[in-house]
Point group: C2
Chain length 111, copies 2
């Protein structure tokens, strides 16, 4: 049973402003740092990030990341998969993921 891929911007439509705004938040950056660090790029459950925030807030943050074009969210109805849009990001903003990858993953303290 395939999930529906929730819609984000096309690769060419990725906006640097939206990306920086998305990465400005510690929790979202933590997610992205972890994704960037895992080079296998497997789809992950969104509980695998253990964010110290409520699930409603997590919904919000993942939405922001998706709308910035940084991740895909795959909707399975009662759970959700997260996948880094590595190729798209690398194409449009080469080097960006390397900056995140250079950070200690899972180590960003909430502000």
């Amino acid at each position: 049973m395939a999930g529906k891929n929730l819609v984000g911007p096309e690769t060419d439509a990725l906006d640097l402003g939206a990306v920086f705004r998305a990465l400005a938040d510690e929790h979202r950056r933590s997610v992205m740092t972890q994704l960037a660090a895992d080079h296998s790029d497997n789809e992950r459950g969104c509980n695998s990030f253990d964010l110290p925030i409520s699930k409603q807030t997590q919904t919000h943050h993942f939405r922001v990341l998706r709308e910035a074009g940084l991740i895909d969210e795959i909707d399975y109805g009662n759970r959700k998969g997260i996948r880094l849009r590595r190729a798209d990001i690398e194409k449009r903003f080469p080097g960006l993921l390397a900056l995140l990858g250079a950070e200690p993953a899972g180590d960003t303290a909430p502000r």
Copy 2:
């Protein structure tokens, strides 16, 4: 008469979070885009960016950029010089300025 260089973080202390937060704002990103585009790296007056905002607000934005470690502000008493910390940024966050440089300079609309 030499100006005083207002203090920002050391190169090694540059924080990716602070940098992304600084670059999340359209006006600040416009400044950075223009600085990144001009590879001569001459010191610039802070009126050379024509930002469509009051001077108090400009003071605020330049302070944020300086505190993020992205620019130096040189205080001449009754005017101020701005200089991109290109080498420091390039050392700590290689590729970041290239991302900004790829943007159309002076073309970022206020949100």
